[in-house]
Symmetry: C2
Subunit: 324 residues, 2 copies
């Protein structure tokens, strides 16, 4: 019977699940809807039942289970303090899943596991020191140092999106302070800056689009910038410069080998990476600027489950994990 | 025979040496001059001879040896790429010392070991996630995450002094870029800003002192600020705000329990810590601002040898290291 790792990536609308081989290949993957009723009380039992069903279907032996979850987590205990998206509050995830499956379970933050996935099988190329940034509606991140995820004192490490990027007069952030990287470099932030540039430059292509539609998305702004619209390019340059500044300062202190950039905004591709890299080099120690690679993420939506499997393999040292 | 750890803190003018008990108390300490002749080729043999002599004198058994050195180090091999202050270039420190003493030897950067010392027996109070900053002629640092020193890909992690603090128009730094934290928050940086403020405010007390003496030290500026001189206070506030900004952004990403501030400038005491803390709270995520403690270093010049002993104990797991 083939031995695999089971991986679960808990999201607000669905649970991404997979069996992953000990060398990081996805053997099977599927999704089930996230049952938000009763404050998420049925999510883990449904996940466990789904794992058992697929285990019979694929006739595999499961070595360990890795679970990625959003929100604040006590990683050592696998205890969820709060995960607003799925309804959990003070929820003993690990304990519950271990008792349902009779298997060792490890739990970590989903953004941290995406970093682990990219490290193991994606753009990180095995780097033991890696920074992962996710540019989506918000800005998330994960930090791997010396081969392990950095959690910090209360599990908040990796919250790259709340680095203060705009020191004075920055926009208000959900976190309660102003000028966070998330307010200028997320899709939401780029859209906001773009709308400001569009309103100030009515003759630009984004100025015309804003007037015609009353709104502008980050994608529309980035596309216009790629097509040479100066107002749009100013907006993208501003976002990229804030990213380059924040990432350079992290690298000046953490010296990772690789920065991996993922999330919806990263679909802007090399165009965005080149701009971020240019700013990064301005603010990084010359040796760091020369040695740090900035790459687009490669695993897309699979990063979470592969990262969860990486953590499971790493924690329980199953067969074939020598290359971790 | 009592078992101890031997510790060596290599500096440009002297080697600080100590025998440290397995629970972190200094059993004996002494210094020998740094022999810079022949590109530092005699330093380690003299250190080893001194350790043997003191071992006989104190009649102790040595479990392991920890060595802190300045410069770029391959920590795994204990290999010094370059240490300008003492003359080493491509120097196999660990190998040499192990063959001279017949004992396990561990080597790390001196700033990292100062962080380890403060963690173990100083202001860090055992924190597994800790940031140490040394404000001296330059700005140095060390980062401990999950109980271990963070080294990064090429040993440059912890170089907090080269975080870009002044984003545009900053002063030139020795590292080759502009606006580094070191250019505004070291003794040199505070003196530079203070002289600018003094020249612009000739009627201030530091303005008068600059005119009379032609120069101003960081200590004179901080003392004048404490005595209520507004120009001097502006200079100190500027330095403290840059420190608060840089440290908050590190903590937004690393979530340490404690920041320990040491070095000559930290003799300004609580006056400086309060200013740094106020800025820190402006730029930190509210939960981080509430939970992170900023403290003055407690071990002074002993931090290096205690940190070297901490590393030796941690690496070789001698008796009594459970509390590491």
């Amino acid at each position: 019977m083939k031995s695999v790792l089971a991986a679960v990536d808990v999201g607000g609308t669905s649970l991404k699940m997979a069996f992953v081989t000990h060398d990081g290949e996805i053997a099977a993957k599927w999704e089930i809807p996230t049952n938000q009723s009763d404050k998420g009380a049925h999510i883990i039992s449904e996940a466990a039942a789904s794992i058992k069903e697929k285990q019979r279907e694929y006739n595999v032996d499961i070595g360990a289970v890795g679970v990625g979850a959003p929100g604040f987590i006590d990683v050592e205990r696998g205890f969820i303090y709060e995960a607003v998206n799925v309804g959990w509050k003070s929820y003993p995830l690990r304990e519950e899943m271990e008792s349902l499956l009779g298997l060792p379970v490890v739990v970590d933050n989903d953004a941290n596991l995406a970093a682990g996935g990219e490290k193991w099988k994606g753009a990180g190329g095995g780097a033991d020191n890696l920074l992962a940034v996710t540019l989506g509606t918000g800005v998330g991140g994960g930090i791997i140092a010396g081969g392990s995820i950095i959690h910090g004192q209360s599990g908040m490490a990796g919250e790259i999106g709340h680095i203060t990027a705009v020191r004075e007069g920055g926009a208000r952030c959900n976190c309660g302070k102003n000028g966070c990287l998330e307010t200028v470099a997320s899709a939401t932030g780029i859209a906001r800056i773009g709308r400001e540039k569009a309103a100030a430059n009515p003759s630009s292509s984004i100025g015309g689009a804003l007037k015609a539609k009353g709104s502008l998305s980050a994608k529309e702004i980035i596309d216009a910038a790629k097509n040479g619209d100066h107002a749009a390019e100013e907006a993208v340059n501003e976002a990229a410069d804030h990213l380059g500044f924040a990432l350079a300062n992290l690298c000046n202190s953490l010296n990772p080998e690789t920065i991996v950039i993922g999330g919806g905004v990263s679909k802007a591709g090399d165009y965005l990476v080149e701009k971020i890299t240019a700013s990064f080099k301005t603010y990084a120690i010359p040796k760091i600027a020369a040695e740090t690679t900035i790459r687009l993420a490669e695993l897309g939506n699979d990063a979470g489950v592969i990262g969860a499997a990486w953590l499971a393999a790493k924690a329980y040292r199953g067969e074939g994990t020598a290359e971790l």
